[in-house]
Symmetry: C2
Subunit: 220 residues, 2 copies
């Protein structure tokens, strides 16, 4: 989404939160400090992208922010929340560290994944994942992930092999180290295993050995 459209959507939210008066492009323009023409163009673009819904009224039109548009604002809100209030965990799962066969490292090291981690997560990950097997008590809570925000990592094909898409959940390990849970959409592990990606070697940083328990706090 183009930056200035995001700003317009954000400022539009202020304006249209009072739906008592119908809006005109002139009206909105004067509040946003734009020309009528620019507002018209922005409204058209926002509507094309499904962010707002407009309906003609006798004078002017009503502007409603759609669910898709609200999602966009929600994202902004939660990002700001995290920045301003500090990361807060919403859901904590617990499990045991175990050693894999290095597949995690193999997948993570694929340059196309690496570039995405760098761009979308903001760091170059340590080339390997920490495997955690969820305790029975916490396993049933895995479904709660459905309601938690994630960052999408795209799949790709490299010659004959295809590498799947995945989701990265922002987490805090043992209330201390920022990391991401990487959930492949088709995992080579079962539902009870989470793979954790971090900018540092988590085993060293937290002094972990196989069988140790770690707490995985999911951040909004």
């Amino acid at each position: 989404m183009k930056p200035w459209l995001l700003i317009t959507l954000y400022r539009l939210a202020e304006v249209t939160s009072r739906p008592s008066e119908p809006h005109t492009t002139v009206n909105i323009a004067s509040r946003l400090g734009f020309s009528q023409q620019t507002v018209s163009r922005h409204l058209i673009e926002l509507e094309n992208q499904g962010m707002i819904k407009r309906e003609k009224a006798t004078r002017g039109e009503t502007v409603r922010i759609t669910e898709k548009g609200m999602n966009e604002l929600n994202k902004m809100y939660h990002t700001l929340h995290r920045v301003i209030e500090g990361p807060k965990t919403e859901l904590t799962l617990e499990g045991e560290v175990f050693s894999g066969l290095g597949e995690g490292a193999y997948y993570v090291s694929q340059p196309i994944y690496m570039r995405q981690f760098q761009e979308k997560l903001g760091f170059t990950p340590f080339p390997g994942t920490l495997n955690v097997r969820l305790s029975k008590k916490h396993l049933k809570d895995r479904s709660l992930l459905e309601s938690i925000g994630y960052i999408e990592i795209e799949g790709f094909k490299n010659g004959a092999r295809s590498f799947g898409a995945g989701r990265c959940y922002r987490v805090l390990i043992n209330e201390e180290v920022e990391a991401f849970v990487v959930a492949a959409l088709r995992s080579h592990y079962g539902e009870d295993v989470l793979e954790i990606l971090a900018p540092v070697n988590l085993r060293e940083r937290l002094n972990l050995r196989d069988g140790d328990t770690v707490r995985i706090g999911f951040v909004r």
Copy 2:
């Protein structure tokens, strides 16, 4: 502040919330989807405006958002909070309605004020103010207003007369009607009086008569 700079500041907040790695313009650029040159320019502009502070590191540089920059983000955050969670009152004052001599209406009706109300508050106010005298119990709380956000209305000169600047606080009257408390910087009333501006006639809308008590909830 220019819209695209605000977006850059906002997105920078995401990036720099992890100050473990020093940042490079190339790095930030790839995350924001800009070129290295554009990021360089934005960082320069943001620093000139006092929004961020940069320091050279061995490779790249550290970027810290200053208090002024955080204020900007805070504003965004609270606006989104209001839009998403709905208006929440932070402080409620109580007082009695009384009749003025119509000075409120005279001031409010000045076209230059009116245009500002329209643009900054988002509605054309009913041409008159509701006067409320705070009860003794609540009078001491008036100073709490210092910490609450407001919208600035500029003063102006109209020939010989000069009309002062003022502040508009977003309020909810009797938990029901959205309105603004207009606090002139030099008021013709004492500290115990608040003047309330709304898009509707509050006396009619809330069926108020002199001597009735109203609750004024200040919104974040």
